[in-house]
Amino acid sequence: MLIKLTGGTVYDPASGIDGKVQTLYVQDGKFIKQPASDVKIDKEYDLKGKVVMSGAIDMHTHIGGGKGNIARMLIPEDHRKDPVHRSDITRSGCGHAMPSTFTTGYRYAEMGYTAGFEPAILPINARQAHMEMADIPILDKGGYVMLGSDDYLLRMLTAKKDQKAINDYVAWTMNAAKAIGVKVVNPGGINAFKFNQRQLDLDEKNTHYQVTPREILQVLATAVKEIGVKHPLHVHGCNLGVPGNVETTLDTMQGIGGLPMHLTHIQFHSYGTEGDFKFSSGGAAIAESINKHKNITADVGQILFGQTITASGDNMRQHANHGFANPNKWVCMDIECDAGCGVVPFKYRDQNFVNALQWAIGLEIFLLVDDPWRIFLTTDHPNGAPFTTYPHLIRLLMDKSFRNDMLATIHPEAQKMTTLASIDREYSLQEIAILTRAGAAKLVGLEDRGSLAEGAWADITVYTEDADREKMFEKPDYVFKDGELVVVDGKVVHTKWGTTHIVRPDWDTSVEKDLQKYFDRFMTMKVGNFKISDDEITEDGRGSLTVHSLNGGT
């Protein structure tokens, strides 16, 4: 099948193309050079006047794993407001805050997204994460495996094991859990909560292991770099949501000493303590620090107003915030000497001072970080807002007058505490393409995705120009996944199954001897039964694994 996409205005930052009229050719799922004139074109799409980008990539979205399913179970009343009918080609489900897997795939595709990455895969829960993601149609997927509160790593640190041993353990875990990155959540804090510690600052010690979050970040960031994983250590920092945490976040950036590090949902970690309500914006300071530290990347975790549900591995902070649960019900779990989770429904309100300022802080960070290759568009779905709000968020970034109109409606004291009104920046289409495509593919370490260049997989989104960017981005004319047309006019017309992106860093096989002993003594399953085999992903005939390269050529 040879497809010709004729005359669209192409935004492909990966190839340095910024709004140029181009014709694209796709064969067998990938972009090819213009074929000879006598080659038969099977299907041509006239894209004159249309905007063409690659399929969008959500590099941080909670779409697979136990806490998401707990979230689903917890709020049936939220699902009832958004039932999704089956059709001849699509499955039924529910939408809104924490949609069912099939609905997740359809709705992402319908806004032009073709990949999503689960950022918090507990090693012990990795099977579930992959099984859920296996039931998300159309999208490619993958995830970051969570370390840092697991007793095995903390025992290694207490025993002063060398960096090489830690590298082997990290690489082994990535292989066992089928991950493409490594995440740390409230470094050591989830573990400290099991010893009844209720907070853990960057230099505070775990009372049992005598290890600090700073040490955990250092060894894990080093491990990720040394084993060659392209996605930098993905960090959900200390003190999420705590007024004054901006200082901790600045210290975290400074303290990592130039190692690559990604700070996730940084909005939740950018709070000061000034003003009458002792809650203020640290947005400018955070953006300035990101601008200065070229080793740092961040996604925002923008909040948007309305009902959602927060699902996090950070049960220490989720427990501390359970008083804000709306509706008033919540779940916390300690999990398998591995990690934990906390699920708390939230309703962000524009007339609540704190929520209103959170909204403004996220936007400040988006607009004050200079380099679009180092900042990423997320709501930390579903924690800041469901992913279906992305078109609205894009409009807030691209349209200053719309943004200021919104700003004028929020809690008046919050308006006084933000510099948002004075920021003139409006994101360009090319910058949006960087945040949501080229930059995301590069950050995750995906080859052949997030680009419209020859040889890349043909994940394509076609939009009609509209001054109302929300309208434009919520309803693409066409979406192609691996060269197959899956969405027309914002509706799924065909479904398929995406691949699972992973890396396979090397590890010294001797590491498994210690792990086997540890599993036999303390865990509840055999180490051999813990590791996920390739056929668990592929045996149903729908799933596949795509292995990406590492730095250093291995």
Binding site: G68, S92, F193
Partner: protein, 419 residues
């Protein structure tokens, strides 16, 4: 004959994965680490290998076509049982979506007590490895724990080593309600569990008083349903003094009206203790015959637990209305599909409706179903995944023998395709 080691069990719910099983053709023998639940479940003989329609042996395609015909003619099918592995449950969901069926896990009426509490106020829970390494005080409410899971104590409480306890044999165990049926809860050091017996129906009152005592509220009565107030006071103090207390219950064993309020009472008590400068967790027991698996898979594909209806073209959840037994009794269903890949004794409910049974080889019936399709057992005849009781860990089930039986997923997907 071959011996397969480190075999995980889908039967006991606690995810034992250290069984050794001798395979001799189609016959299995548990040679190591069996128990009263797992051994007979693995060793159950395979008998039927061919499908039947109206009692006559037919090819699989004929049985599948007949099942599809019955479902096509149906206005409201119900799929009961739902006792299978993850892929089998995926098949249930696809078939239910296509045929507009009700999906109802056979243990849901018990599990409903947990779901109602969860969906009203939530809970703080833990998992097996945390218990194994951290639990210093275990309160067992209303269940004979060793009857439920014979190897629970051996594997998760009297383990020789733990990361955070110097001496696991000093752990304290207290029962409220049902007394233990044996001595599994007696520690290796000879420490016997304390038992505060009461009738099941008195548990709401006893747990309410216990929570009041935990919170320091004044209780005037001296005897609560046969339990001395001072004994309950002692339990309250132990819960608060423990570094990592655990409160366990089995929703299925709380067989009295409005038992969800008792689940809620003890879950809220656990939350209370976590505000008293220590840690405490709940631990619901379940996970048998695929019940957690059914709820998990139904959860991610529909967003609801495994009692949902698809006849409107989208999932609707109601923990009472879509009870398949009630629907059968009230004439609200017109075809029954019974899916039970684990247990031949778990037969479909009695009904005069057209019945399709997709079940483990060896199931016998007082009334022959219209369609019977014997399927392989996950973890014996084919690989698969099953959830453990703590709902976090999905175990990878192994294929132990080559029986040629189709899997639940094979059969249900074929029926769905034939619709």
């Amino acid at each position: 004959m071959t011996e397969i080691t480190e075999v995980p069990s889908p039967f006991c719910g606690i995810g034992t994965d250290d069984l050794s099983i001798q395979v001799d053709g189609l016959s299995l023998k548990v040679s190591e680490n069996g128990c009263a639940v797992n051994t007979p479940a693995f060793e159950q003989a395979m008998t039927d290998t061919r499908a039947r329609v109206d009692g006559k042996e037919v090819g699989l395609d004929v049985a599948v076509a007949k099942a599809a015909e019955l479902l096509r003619a149906s206005n409201q099918p119900v799929i009961g049982g739902c006792a299978t592995d993850v892929n089998g449950m995926r098949g249930v969901m696809a078939l239910a979506d296509h045929s507009g069926a009700v999906v109802d896990n056979m243990n849901f009426t018990g599990a409903r007590r947990n779901f109602l509490a969860l969906q009203d106020t939530g809970w703080m829970n833990t998992t097996l490895a945390e218990i194994k390494n951290r639990c210093d005080f275990l309160l067992v409410v209303g269940v004979d724990l060793e009857g439920f899971a014979p190897r629970f104590f051996e594997r998760y409480l009297w383990n020789k080593e733990s990361m955070f306890l110097d001496d696991t044999s000093q752990r304290i165990v207290v029962y409220i309600g049902k007394a233990p049926s044996g001595d599994a809860s007696t520690s290796p050091a000879g420490l016997k569990a304390k038992v505060l017996p009461c009738a099941d129906a008195d548990l709401p009152e006893v747990m309410a008083v216990l929570r009041a005592l935990v919170k320091g509220n004044k209780v005037v009565a001296e005897n609560i349903c046969g339990i001395a107030l001072s004994d309950l006071q002692a339990v309250a103090e132990q819960l608060k003094a423990a570094k990592y207390g655990v409160v366990t219950w089995a929703a299925g064993a709380l067989n009295f009206d409005q038992a969800e309020l008792t689940v809620q009472m003890l879950s809220e008590m656990v939350k209370d203790i976590n505000t008293m400068d220590t840690r405490c967790s709940g631990f619901p027991l379940g996970g048998k015959e695929g019940d957690q698996t059914a709820n998990q898979v139904c959860g991610w594909t529909s967003a609801y637990p495994a009692r949902a209806r698809f006849s409107s073209g989208f999932p609707e959840y109601d923990p009472f209305l879509y009870d398949s037994n009630a629907m059968l009794a009230n004439g609200e269903a017109d075809v029954l599909v019974w899916v039970q890949a684990f247990n031949v004794a778990s037969v479909p409910p009695q009904t005069d409706l057209p019945t399709i049974v997709v079940a483990r080889s060896g199931m016998t019936f007082t009334k022959e179903p219209d369609v019977f399709i014997p399927v392989g057992t996950p973890g014996i005849d084919h690989a698969g995944h099953a959830y453990r009781l703590d709902n976090v860990v999905a175990i990878r089930l192994k294929k132990l023998r080559d029986s040629g039986l189709p899997s639940t997923a094979d059969v249900l997907n074929a029926i769905e395709q034939a619709l």
